[in-house]
Symmetry: C2
Subunit: 705 residues, 2 copies
C-alpha cells in the first residue's frame, strides 16, 4: 500500500468513528432510560422540567430557524454572485443543524437522567453517579459523533464532487478546495452555539437570580422550595443553559479546531496526509475516550474523593492513550515532521494544566477562594472587590500556559524554517487539547444533571440523605466543570488563533499576491485591535444587562404570585410555574438577538471601513482581550460560588449570617459572569473569525481603505 | 530670516513659555494664600490634613528615591557599557524629579486652598469657586510650566552638546540624536507618576473605604464626622491621591505626548522644523489656557449651572484659540503638509467628545446613571451587575472616537503615501488633545479641593449652608473631573500608540536593516499580544487587592479606637487621627512596589524571551486592553458614585433606605475602580513603552527568539 493509498484508506475511519460514537451514545442512553424514574412526585416534577425545557428549545429553534433562513438567503445570493463557494450556504445549514442537534439530544438525555439520578440517590451515591455519568457520556459522544458525521458527509461529498463532477487538476488543489469549503461551515456551528449559549445563559441566570432574589432573600424560603414560582424555571434553565448551551458550544469548539487545522495543513503543504492528521486524531481521541469511560467504576462504599478519582482515572487514561497513539499517527502520516507530535502533546498538557489552575483558583479547597470567603466578613463590597481581583489575577496562568503552548508547538512544528508548518503545529495543539472531548465533556455534563437531581429531591421532599448524596455529586460536578471550562477557554484561544491564520490564507487563495500589511503599527490594524479589544466588553455588557432585565421581570412575577395566589406560602395552593418559564423564554429569545447580530455585523462592518488588514486586527484584538476577560469572568464567578458554599459549610458563622449574605451577593454577581457572559465570549471570538472568513471576498471587493 | 533661522528662533519660546506658566502659577498661588483660612477650628483641621499629606509625600519620595537611585545605577552601568545613550540616566532623574515636583506643588497648594475655600464658602458660592479654581490653575500651570522647563533644559543642553562638544555631521542627525535622548526621560516621569498614582490611589481609597465601612455602615455616623478616627486620613488621601497623583500623572502624559511626537517628527523626515511643532504647540496651548482662564468669572448670584458654564467658557475659549493658532503654526513650520493641522484638530475634538460622553455615562443628569440607580431597588447584586455592564458598554464610544481620530490624523497627515508622515500626524493629535492642559487640569484639579473643603466644613461644624455650597462645588467638580478623565485616557491611548511607533524607530536607529516581523500572525507577536492584554488585568488586580488589604487594616484600627478610647462616640475624647494616616502611609508604600516593579520587569522579561517583535506585541496588547479596561473601570466607578448621590437627593427613598445601602456597596466597589486601578492603567501603558525604548538595545542583544 502506498502512502497515498494509506491516507485515502484512513479517511474511512472518520465515518466509522462517527458511527461508533453515536452507537455508544445510544447504548448509554438506553442504560439511563431503563432505570426507574421513581414515584409519582418525582415523575410529576421531572415532567414539568422536561416540558419547560422542550418548550424553550422549540421556541429557540424556531427563532434561530428564521435567522438561519435569512442567512441562507444572503449566503445564497453571494454564492450566486460568485462571491462565495457555492457549498457555503449548505455547509452553514448543516453546521448549525448538527450543533443544535447536539444541544437538543443533550437536553433530552439530561432531563431524563435528572429524575433517575435523584431516584437512584435513594439507594446509594454510587448508583446515582453511574446514571449521571452515563447521561454525561451520551452528551459527550453525541457531540463527538455528530461532529465526525458532519465531517464525513462533507469530506466525502466534496471529494466526490471534485473528482467526478468538477474534477480539479491536482490532489493538492483538491485538498485546498475541500478544506476551504469545509472551513466555512464553522460559521453555522458558531452561530448556533452563540444563540444556544447566550439564549440559554440568559434563561438560566434570569431564573436563578430571580428565584434567589425573591425566594431566598425576600421571602426567606430555601433554594429549590416548591413554593417558589420560579423554581421550575430555575431547573429548566440548568438544562437549556448548562446542558444544551454547552453541547452546542463544544460541538462548535471541536469542529472549529478540526476545520481550521485542516485548512492550515493544506497551507503548510501537507495535502491530504496533513488534513488527515486532525481528522484521524479526533477519531482516535474518541476511541481513547470510549476506552477511558470504562474505567469510571466505583465501589459501593465510594466516598466523594474516590468518586472524583474514578472520574479522573477515566480522563487520565484517555489522555495517556491519545498521547501514545498520536505519535504513531504523526509518524505515519507526516513522517518528515515529527515535531508535530510535540505540538499535539503541548495542547494536551496545556488543557490539563489550565483545568488544574482553574480549579486552584475557584475551589474552596485552596487558599484563593478561602481568602475570598474571608473578605465577606467586611460585607458585600469587599467580597465583590476581592472576587474581581481574584479573577483578574487568575488570568496570568492560562495566558502563560497558552503562550508557552503556542511557542512550543510553533517551533517544534518547524516554524523557524517554515512559518506555515509552525502555524499548522499551533492549530494541531488545539486538536490535541480537544481530542479527548468525549470523556471530558462527559465528566463536565454530568454536573448539571446532578444539580437538577438535587433540585428534584428537594422539591419532591425526598429524605435529607438523598439531598446530601446529590449535593456531593453536585460539588464534584463543580470541580469537573472547572476542568471542562479550562478546555473550553484554552481551545477557544488556540482555535481563534488558527482561524485568524486561516483567514489570512483565504485572502491569499482569492488573490495570491494580495499585499498584506498586518504590521502592528499599521493604523487600520491598530484601530482594528482597539475595536476588537472592545468587542468582548460590549458583548458581555449586553448579555449581563439582559440577565439583569430578565431577572427583574421574574422578580416582579414571583412577587405578584406571592401576593395574589392565596395559600401559596402555606402550601395549600400551587404556584404557576409555567408563567415563569414563559417569561424566561420570551426574555431569552428577545435578548439574544442583539449580541448575536453584533458578532456578525462588527467584523463585516470593520471590513468595509478598515479593509482586510483591519479585520485581522479586529480578530486578534478580540481574541486576546476576549480570552483574558472570559477567564476573569469564569474564575471570579466560580470563586464567588464556592466562597458562598464554603461559608455555608459553617465558616464565618454559616448560613444566614451577615458574611453569608455578603457571599450571596457575590454569587449572584458571579452567576451571569460565569454562566452567561464568560462562556459566550469563547464562541464570540471564533464566530467573528468564521464570519470574516465567509465574507472575505465581499470585504476585499468593497472595503474603503 | 530664513526658514531655518525662524525655526531656531521659535525654540526660544519654550523657556519663555515655561517662565510665563510658572510665573502665572506663582501669582495665582499668592492669590490663594492671601485669603483667610478662617477661625481656629478650621485652621486646626487644615493643619492636621497638611501634616498628614506632608508626612505621606516625604515618605513616598524617600521610598521612590531609593528606587530612582537603584535605577540610576543600573542605567549608569548600561550607559558605561555603551548600551544606552550616556544622557539617559540623568534624563531619567530629571523626568522623575519634575513629575514628583508637580505633584508636590499641587499637594501644597491644595492643602492650603481647601480650608480657604471652606472659609470663603461662608460668604458665597462664588468666592469659594474663585479660590478653588485659582488653586486648580496653580496646579495646571505648574505642570505645564515644569514640563516646558524640562524640555528647554534638555533641548538646549543637547543642542549645545552636539554642536560644540561633540559635533555631529548634519542637522538631521542632530535632531535625531536630541529627540532620541529626550524620549527616554519619559521613563523617569512615567515611573514617578506610577508610584504617585498607585501609592496615592491606595492611600486615598483605603482611607475612604475603611472610614465608610466602619463609620457609615457599622457605627452609623455621617461622612466626615470628626469622631471617625479615619476622617483625617480620608481627607489626606484626597490630596495625596487625587491631587499629587493626578499632577504627576498629567505631567507624564503631557511630556510623554510631546517627546514621542518629537521623535516621530524626525522619523518623518521633518527635522528641527518638525520637532518644533509639538513643542511650540505646547507653548501656544499654555498661552491659550492662560487667556482662557481669565474668562472664568462669575457673578455674585451665580447658580451651579452658571458656574459650570463659567468653567466651560474658559476651556472652550482656550480650545478655540489653539485651534486657530495651530493652523498658522503648521503652515509656518511645515508648509508642505497642512494635513497635519487636521491631525491636531482631530485630537482636540476627540478629547472634547470623550469628555462629553464620559459625562453622559457617569452623570446623574443622564439616563444611564439614573437607570443604574433603579437597579439598586433589587439590592447590591443587581447594582453591581448594572454598573459593570454600564462601564463595559461605555467603552464603545471612546474606542470609536479614538479610532476615528487615529484614522483621520493618519490619512490627513499623508499616511497613504508616507507611513511616517501618518504616524507623526497620529502623535500630533495627542499633543493637540493635551495642548490646553493648563486649563483642563485647572478645572479638574479644583474638584478635590472643593471635596476637601466640604470635609473641613463638616468637621469644623460650619453652618449647613456652607456645606451645601461646598457640595455644589464638589458636584461640579465631578462633572469637570469626567472631562479631565476623558483627556487623560484618550491622550494615553494616542501617546502609547506613538510610543510603540517610536520604539520601532529606536530599533531601526540601532540596526537600520533589522528585519522586523510585526505581523499579527507571527507567534511571538501573538504571544506578546496575549501577555500584553493580560498585564492591565494583573495590574488592576494587584492595586485593587492592595486597597482591600489596606482598608481592612483601617477597619481594624478604627474598630479598636471605637472600643478602646472611652468617650470617643460622645465627643468627650479625640480620636487618634495620626495612627490612621500612618497605617495608610505604610500600606501604600508597601503595596505600590509590586505593581510598579511588574510594569518594569514585564516588558524587559518579554523582550528576553520573545525578542523585539514580541515586545511590540506586548505593548500593543496592553495598549488596547488597558484602554478598554481603564475606560470601563473609570466609568463604572463614576456611575456608581453618582447613582448613590442621585439616590441621596431623594430618589428611591433617599438616604438610609435599602436602595441607598445597595448604592453604597456599588460606590465602595467603584472607589478603587475609578481612583486607583483605572487611572494607573493610563500610566502603565506608557511606562512599559518607555521602558522598552530605554532597554531596546539590551533586548536586541540578549533575546532568546
Amino acid at each position: 500500500m502506498t502512502h497515498e493509498q494509506l491516507v485515502s484508506f484512513l479517511y474511512y475511519l472518520v465515518p466509522v468513528g462517527a458511527a461508533a460514537a453515536l452507537l455508544f451514545a445510544w447504548i448509554q442512553s438506553r442504560k439511563v432510560l431503563k432505570s426507574s424514574e421513581g414515584d409519582a412526585g418525582i415523575v410529576e416534577i421531572a415532567a414539568a422540567i422536561r416540558k419547560g425545557a422542550n418548550a424553550y428549545l422549540h421556541r429557540q429553534y424556531r427563532g434561530v430557524g428564521i435567522f438561519f433562513a435569512g442567512m441562507f438567503v444572503i449566503l445564497g445570493i453571494l454564492a450566486l454572485l460568485d462571491m462565495l463557494n457555492p457549498f457555503v450556504p449548505f455547509a452553514f445549514l448543516t453546521g448549525g443543524f448538527f450543533s443544535g442537534l447536539s444541544g437538543f439530544i443533550g437536553m433530552k438525555i439530561a432531563t431524563a437522567a435528572n429524575s433517575r439520578t435523584a431516584n437512584a440517590a435513594r439507594n446509594s451515591l454510587n448508583k446515582a453517579l453511574r446514571i449521571a455519568f452515563a447521561s454525561g457520556t451520551v452528551m459527550g459522544f453525541t457531540v463527538v459523533g455528530l461532529a465526525l458525521l458532519d465531517l464525513s458527509i462533507w469530506f466525502f461529498f466534496l471529494r466526490f464532487f471534485y473528482t467526478v463532477i468538477s474534477p480539479v487538476a491536482s490532489a493538492a488543489e483538491m485538498a485546498q478546495r475541500i478544506t476551504s469549503a469545509m472551513l466555512t461551515f464553522g460559521m453555522g456551528a458558531s452561530s448556533m452555539a452563540l444563540f444556544a449559549r447566550v439564549g440559554g445563559g440568559i434563561f438560566t441566570k434570569a431564573a436563578d437570580v430571580g428565584a434567589d432574589l425573591v425566594g431566598k432573600v425576600e421571602a426567606g424560603i430555601p433554594e429549590d422550595d416548591p413554593r417558589n414560582p420560579a423554581v421550575i424555571a430555575d431547573n429548566v434553565g440548568d438544562n437549556v443553559g448548562d446542558v444544551a448551551g454547552m453541547g452546542a458550544d463544544l460541538y462548535e469548539s471541536y469542529i472549529g479546531s478540526i476545520l481550521s487545522t485542516c485548512a492550515l495543513a493544506v497551507a503548510a503543504g501537507y495535502g491530504f496526509a496533513g488534513v488527515a492528521v486532525p481528522m484521524i486524531m479526533a477519531v482516535l481521541g474518541m476511541f481513547a475516550s470510549l476506552i477511558g469511560s470504562f474505567f469510571v467504576t466505583t465501589k459501593e462504599d465510594a466516598t466523594q474523593k474516590s468518586l472524583l478519582n474514578a472520574l479522573r482515572k477515566g480522563t487520565w487514561i484517555s489522555a495517556a492513550l491519545i498521547a501514545v497513539v498520536a505519535y504513531f499517527l504523526v509518524a505515519t502520516l507526516i513522517p518528515e515532521n515529527r515535531g508535530l507530535y510535540v505540538a499535539v502533546l503541548s495542547g494536551l498538557v496545556a488543557g490539563v494544566l489550565i483545568g488544574f489552575f482553574t480549579e486552584y483558583f475557584t475551589s474552596d479547597h485552596y487558599r484563593p477562594t478561602q481568602q475570598l470567603a474571608d473578605t465577606a466578613l467586611t460585607g458585600p463590597a469587599t467580597i465583590i472587590i476581592g472576587g474581581i481581583s481574584l479573577g483578574m489575577l487568575s488570568t496570568a496562568v492560562p495566558v502563560i500556559i497558552i503562550s508557552a503552548s503556542v511557542l512550543i508547538s510553533y517551533y517544534f512544528a518547524g516554524g523557524i524554517n517554515n512559518y506555515n508548518h509552525g502555524l499548522f503545529g499551533v492549530a494541531l495543539s488545539a486538536v490535541g487539547m480537544l481530542s479527548t472531548l468525549g470523556i471530558t465533556l462527559a465528566t463536565d455534563a454530568y454536573g448539571p444533571v446532578a444539580d437538577n437531581a438535587g433540585g428534584i429531591a428537594q422539591m419532591a421532599g425526598l429524605p435529607e440523605e438523598v439531598r446530601q448524596r446529590t449535593d456531593a455529586l453536585d460539588s464534584l460536578g463543580n470541580t469537573t466543570a472547572a476542568t471542562g471550562k479550562g478546555f473550553a477557554i484554552g481551545s477557544a484561544a488556540l482555535t481563534a488563533l488558527a482561524l485568524i491564520a486561516a483567514y489570512v490564507d483565504q485572502v491569499r487563495l482569492i488573490e495570491p499576491d494580495f499585499s498584506f500589511n498586518l504590521t502592528l503599527t499599521n493604523p487600520p490594524v491598530l484601530v482594528g485591535l482597539f475595536i476588537g479589544a472592545m468587542l468582548p466588553f460590549i458583548f458581555s455588557s449586553l448579555t449581563m444587562s439582559a440577565v439583569g432585565r430578565a431577572a427583574q421581570s421574574i422578580v416582579i412575577e414571583v412577587r405578584r404570585q406571592f401576593s395574589e395566589i392565596t395559600g401559596l406560602m402555606t402550601g395549600s395552593a400551587v404556584a404557576d410555574y409555567a408563567r415563569c418559564v414563559d417569561i424566561c423564554t420570551q426574555s431569552a429569545q428577545r435578548e439574544m438577538i442583539l449580541p448575536a447580530v453584533l458578532a456578525i455585523i462588527v467584523p463585516i462592518a470593520s471590513g468595509f471601513i478598515l479593509g482586510v488588514n483591519g479585520v485581522a486586527g479586529v480578530l486578534a484584538g478580540s481574541m486576546v482581550s476576549g480570552f483574558v476577560l472570559a477567564v476573569m469572568m469564569a474564575n471570579s464567578g466560580g470563586a464567588w460560588d464556592n466562597a458562598k458554599k464554603y461559608i455555608e459549610t459553617g465558616h464565618h458563622g454559616g448560613k444566614g449570617k451577615e458574611p453569608h449574605k455578603a457571599a450571596v451577593v457575590g454569587d449572584t454577581v458571579g452567576d451571569p459572569f460565569k454562566d452567561t457572559s464568560g462562556p459566550s465570549i469563547n464562541i464570540l471570538i471564533k464566530l467573528i473569525s468564521t464570519v470574516s472568513i465567509v465574507f472575505v471576498y465581499v470585504i476585499m471587493q468593497y472595503s474603503l481603505l
